[in-house]
Amino acid sequence: MTAVAGRIALVGSETADLRGLREAGWDARLLDPDSCRRHAARLRTGLALARAATVSPRAARRALRVPREVPRVWCRRQVATRLVAARPQVVHFDSARSAAAWLPVLDALDGAVVVGLTAEDLYGSGSAPFPGCEAVWARAAAVHVPDRALERRALQRGLPPDLPRAVVVPAVEATFFATAEAEPAERRSGALRIVSADSLDWMQGFEHAIHAVRLLRDAGVEVEYTIVGDGDYLPALTFARHQLDVADEVRFSGALAPDELRDRLRSADVFLGASVVDGLPRGALRALACGTPAVLSDPGPLGEPGLDGAALIAPRRKPEALAEKLAALAADEELRRGMGRAARAWALEHASATDRRDRLERLLRQALAQ
């Protein structure tokens, strides 16, 4: 019987992390408010509350106070009470905003807090990262960032330099996205098949991507551009498509199931990432794992590993530059193939679930040791 590395609660994390940490010997459990059964939430909260009260009555009381967001308030209370009852040695949050919402419960728990910083944490609400960020930094034992560019920006925006931190590249489940047959597809029709896949928010710069498609069409390149994902900016993007008169070229597929997304990424000639913020978008990582060459806006100083050979980089907010890079790829199939192979190799080496698990585990052990 192997020794348990530690008890950890993952709030809102992906199942891949749960699986990986369990394989590594952690007693890990996933607490995800978004997958809670709403109608049973009150009953389950009552049961969890009874258990939590035996662990820490104070923490149990606090669990009912947070977080108050409607309409899933009872789902969140259920998760909060289960968190108290679980008595984790480490609590991991997949975003710092999420951690801020749970602070009143965390203050009544003994476990170390580890926070994964996201681009949304840093850019969502202006020049300060997010409301409550200072309290999160004070309570956190360690943080991790997806790449060096976001780390640099986080430090600029108030992340204490002495807080233990690590770069943990988001896992793209390389074994899923980068299967053996993922040789870049032949272009079947004359049109260049471009794909983007991410949440539809301002950070992804989709308006510039749509503008680039218009410029590409004006330059005589036949294009099919699919945007995968959903989000608040859909009206802005459907209007951009109308205003730029590219209704025939641009389509929105909505969010896709993982296997559909993989098929869409693999069948594309190019992935287009027009993000206007630092860091590599997750959609780009998945596309690279699929062996799809990418045209990306400057993701900032990524440090090692760079993206040499896997993507063409254009300045941010410059549709003309994006269109120029896309045209270069449209005209050179050999370049696309070579970049596709480099992209896949990069993803397998730097963005695998195993790599993420190892890096995350090192950070968790460090937090636990504190």
Partner: protein, 439 residues
């Protein structure tokens, strides 16, 4: 006050009162307090003797109206719980039954009738609609007016219940944007029915009229009444602007919404600064209200400012009162408005009234207020290069700035005054009430 100014006073308006001005106008679906341009309109109409009732789902803490002759009626809020909506509807029905039993029957029938939007026939929305209609059913307006397309589409059965002519406004940006968004299909699909039911439709520009016509509006029902400003309030400073200002002062005013194109404006400012222009850009605007259900651009603006190295150049002020807006416009050298979708932006008219040249994008009816090269420059939307070109030209030519500012002021005085707009609205409503009287 400028002698002979066309803004007009309340006394002058009341003098012009005639018996046909004494009608009852019900304005439905406004927020309270409403947008400044709607406040101006309501104030002018009330001053002319029109009985104005505003139905708004305002919070209990909202300030009372300070417009003489205007009555405020509270409508239920969309987000109230279904049980609260149902109980509220029952309460309104119980109040109406002894006084207006026929009106109650008509309202209940209309709520199930063909004008009821499909999304509000079942579920929680049904109770909101019924409660809203019942809360207004005691009124006997001569005209009911929906200032926003979405309100008209959702509350259309109210027109049938009240049995009076209906007017609606098309304000540009919404009719441009939402027909293309799958998220808004529920009410966009109702627009042809709303246009068909309306006795008259007010469009803020010819461009808006064209966009509405594409959604089923018959041009015979449409009247273009453009936005207006008070040129006595928005007037140039007596002292002319400096020929060689220490800084080139740009300003813009508007909601912090994506449709205002802030990122494009900031990019243009960054390029101009990179060319050596001693530029300063003041942004005056509030986060969109919650009922817009639209994310604020505050985070995007803050990031873009930082990312483009504009921390010392761009100043975001948040919402400010009209007097402060005026002072910023007077103190600026150029209005920079890089909007993506508009009717006719009020701030452009306000800047012109203050004698300032404008650099605006070609969106909605902007060209109906600004001739390219006369009152300012009109450039294509999303074209940062052309924005920079226009700004550079004005930066290097103070005399041109003055000429364009003077031309802008003259155009506002000739075409975009509140007094003129009030006349047009009075005729707009009078046409509807006269037609009803003839029947």
């Amino acid at each position: 006050m400028r002698p002979g100014g066309s803004g007009g006073s309340r006394a002058a308006c009341v003098t012009a009162l005639s018996s046909s001005d004494r009608f009852h106008l019900l304005e439905v679906g406004l927020r309270w307090p409403p947008e400044t341009f709607i406040q101006h309109k309501l104030r002018r109409l009330a001053a002319r003797g029109v009985r104005v009732t505003v139905a708004s789902s305002m919070p209990a803490s909202a300030p009372r109206p300070r417009i003489p002759g205007l009555e405020l009626v509270r409508m239920p809020h969309w987000e109230d719980r279904p049980l609260v909506q149902a109980l509220g509807a029952a309460w309104e029905a119980a109040r109406l039954l002894p006084r207006r039993p026929r009106r109650l029957r008509a309202t209940l029938a209309a709520a199930r009738g063909p004008l009821c939007p499909p999304g509000l026939r079942h579920g929680p929305g049904r109770w909101w609609l019924l409660r809203s209609m019942l809360s207004l059913a005691r009124l006997d307006p001569d005209v009911v007016h929906f200032e926003w397309e979405s309100a008209a589409a959702r509350l259309l059965p109210l027109v049938e219940a009240l049995g009076c002519p209906m007017a609606m406004s098309c304000r540009g940006a919404d009719i441009d944007i939402y027909p293309h968004s799958p998220l808004e299909r529920s009410w966009i699909g109702q627009l042809p029915l709303a246009f068909g039911t309306a006795a008259a439709v007010h469009c803020v520009s010819e461009a808006t009229l064209s966009a509405a016509a594409a959604q089923g509006l018959s041009r015979s029902k449409a009247s273009v009444i453009r936005p207006a400003v008070d040129p006595d309030f928005f007037a140039p400073l007596d002292a002319p602007a400096e020929d060689e200002p220490v800084r080139l002062r740009l300003v813009d005013v508007g909601w912090l919404r994506w449709r205002k194109g802030w990122e494009y404006a900031l990019e243009a400012v960054a390029q101009l600064a990179a060319e050596g222009a001693p530029v300063r850009f003041d942004i005056l605007g509030a986060d969109p209200p919650l009922d817009h259900a639209e994310p604020s651009e505050r985070g995007r603006i803050a990031h873009t400012v930082e990312d483009l190295g504009l921390r010392d150049v761009v100043h975001v002020h948040g919402p400010v009162p009209q007097t402060e807006v005026r002072e910023h416009l007077r103190g600026a050298d150029i209005l920079l408005h890089a909007s993506l979708a508009e009717g006719i932006p009020n701030v452009v008219l306000e800047a012109m009234a203050c004698g300032r040249p404008v650099v605006v994008t070609e969106s909605g009816g902007t060209r109906e207020a600004v001739d390219d090269g006369v009152e300012g420059f009109v450039v294509p939307a999303r074209d940062t290069g052309r924005l920079v070109e226009a700004l550079r030209t004005l930066w290097r030519d103070p005399a041109l700035r003055r000429r364009m500012g003077t031309a802008g002021r003259a155009r506002v005085e000739a075409e975009f005054t509140l007094a003129r707009q009030a006349e047009l609205f009075r005729d707009f409503y009078r046409g509807m009430t006269d037609a009803r009287a003839r029947r």
